[in-house]
């Protein structure tokens, strides 16, 4: 069924976002015959895209049921196929506005100032996820695709036998650095502290990789090079000493921010922008609005916990809809 701007079609359940949380919610609500409508998002080269952050990863080694590991995009395709098998209606579109001031809740696509929403949903499941933070330096946008990358799996190939930098100290940074040594001659991890946040197994992998070296207590201050990246200006945060690191590639993995702009002023959130849910529940303060996955999780942030909270949101949405009768 097409999703039309301004149509105001009434549905039981709308799901915004299509990572592990949103698609698990879709599988459960579809199996409960609630005919969920999923707004999966639009193609992009950041993690704000259909399938979410796993679309930018290679081997997922910790998702149960895949002893040999599974590629992130393949895992998400399987989630999506499973949701479609039970009749979830999936649209490759972004929500442009929501109105949570009255029920059923209005959801717009395309023109956000249209009078009528595209959908009116009795229950809304929010699973818009989080996306990587960039450094917010001069010329950053222009450098993307010219040495600065938002997707290691997409772009590592182009840095064969070159020296590249990864910025960050968490699991994502270690994973990207380790992956990039398949191509690069040398990978320098730039981290602002003197120890890593990453899990032990990921740290050990990075420490034992002879192509990886570390630049501790350091931050990137500028991208160097005219038409393409030729280096980074680095400042040591303890000594304030400035140095230049000659690299042709730079990958940023310094953390995430939740995609909650759509809900500003309408749903309670932490100062950091993560949505607040009730204890041991996916329910938000608004009746019939549920949040799951990384959009409400600044602690675990795993595919499996996202799927788990997606399941919670679906079961709670089902009970909520039953309570309306």
């Amino acid at each position: 069924m097409p999703l039309l701007e301004g149509e105001g079609r009434e549905v039981d359940v709308a799901i915004i976002g299509s990572g592990p949380a949103g698609l698990t919610a879709a599988i459960y609500t579809a199996r409960a015959d609630l005919k969920p409508v999923v707004l999966e998002g639009e193609p992009s080269s950041t993690s704000d895209q259909p399938g979410g952050q796993l679309m930018l990863t290679t081997d997922v080694e910790n998702f149960p049921g895949f002893p040999e590991g599974v590629m992130g995009p393949e895992l998400m395709q399987r989630f999506r196929d499973q949701a479609e098998r039970f009749g979830a209606e999936i649209h490759t579109v972004k929500a442009s506005r929501v109105d949570l001031s009255q029920q059923p809740y209005g959801i717009w696509v395309g023109n956000a100032s249209a009078n009528e929403p595209a959908l009116r949903a009795k229950a809304l499941i929010v699973s818009t996820g989080a996306q990587s933070i960039m450094l917010d330096l001069d010329r950053e946008i222009n450098m993307v695709g010219h040495g600065l990358s938002t997707c290691a799996t997409c772009d590592g190939f182009f840095f064969r036998d070159q020296h590249i930098a990864v910025v960050g100290g968490g699991d994502s940074a270690m994973e990207e650095a380790t992956f990039l040594t398949r191509f690069a001659s040398k990978v320098t991890i730039i981290h602002r502290r003197d120890s890593l946040r990453a899990s032990k197994i990921m740290q050990q992998r990075a420490f034992s990789n002879e192509r990886i070296r570390f630049m501790w207590n350091s931050v990137v201050e500028a991208y160097l090079g005219d038409s393409a990246l030729s280096g980074l200006r680095i400042r040591n945060v303890n000594t304030n000493e400035i140095s230049v690191l000659d690299v042709t590639g730079c990958f940023i993995a310094i953390g995430h921010r939740p995609n909650t702009g759509l809900f500003a002023g309408q749903l309670p959130m932490k100062e950091s922008g993560y949505l607040l849910t009730k204890a041991n529940s996916a329910a938000t303060e608004l009746a019939g609005v549920f949040a799951c996955g990384d959009v409400q999780d600044d602690f675990y942030r795993q595919a499996i916990t996202a799927a788990g909270t997606g399941c919670m949101a679906a079961i709670e949405a089902e009970r909520y809809l039953e309570s309306l009768h």
């Binding site: 193609p43 080269s45 679309m55 695709g145 799996t153 997409c154 182009f158 393409a228």
Partner: protein, 106 residues
Amino acid sequence: MSTTTLSNATFDEEIGAASTPILVDFWAEWCGPCKQIAPVLEEIAQENEGKLAVAKLNVDEAPDIARRFGVMSIPTLILFNGGEPAKRIVGAKSKAALLEDLGEYL
């Protein structure tokens, strides 16, 4: 017309001989965002037959061509007009955003 496939052997000839602007999609099997825009490019090819051709180049099979045009990130779309690169789009985008970028050639 649907999208066509270019290779090392055919790239220069097909770009040189194209009678309309031709949009080349530099892509690879291991690139998630590339897969997402593939159906969008297929639609754009079919809806703009006669005005714009769309062709795909697998960078795994043709790394030298990717290097020649300075491709360091995929998907990268390069629009060739009269055999010369005239426009470059880096990163996956929605159909609406791509159509806006390509507006002057449609």
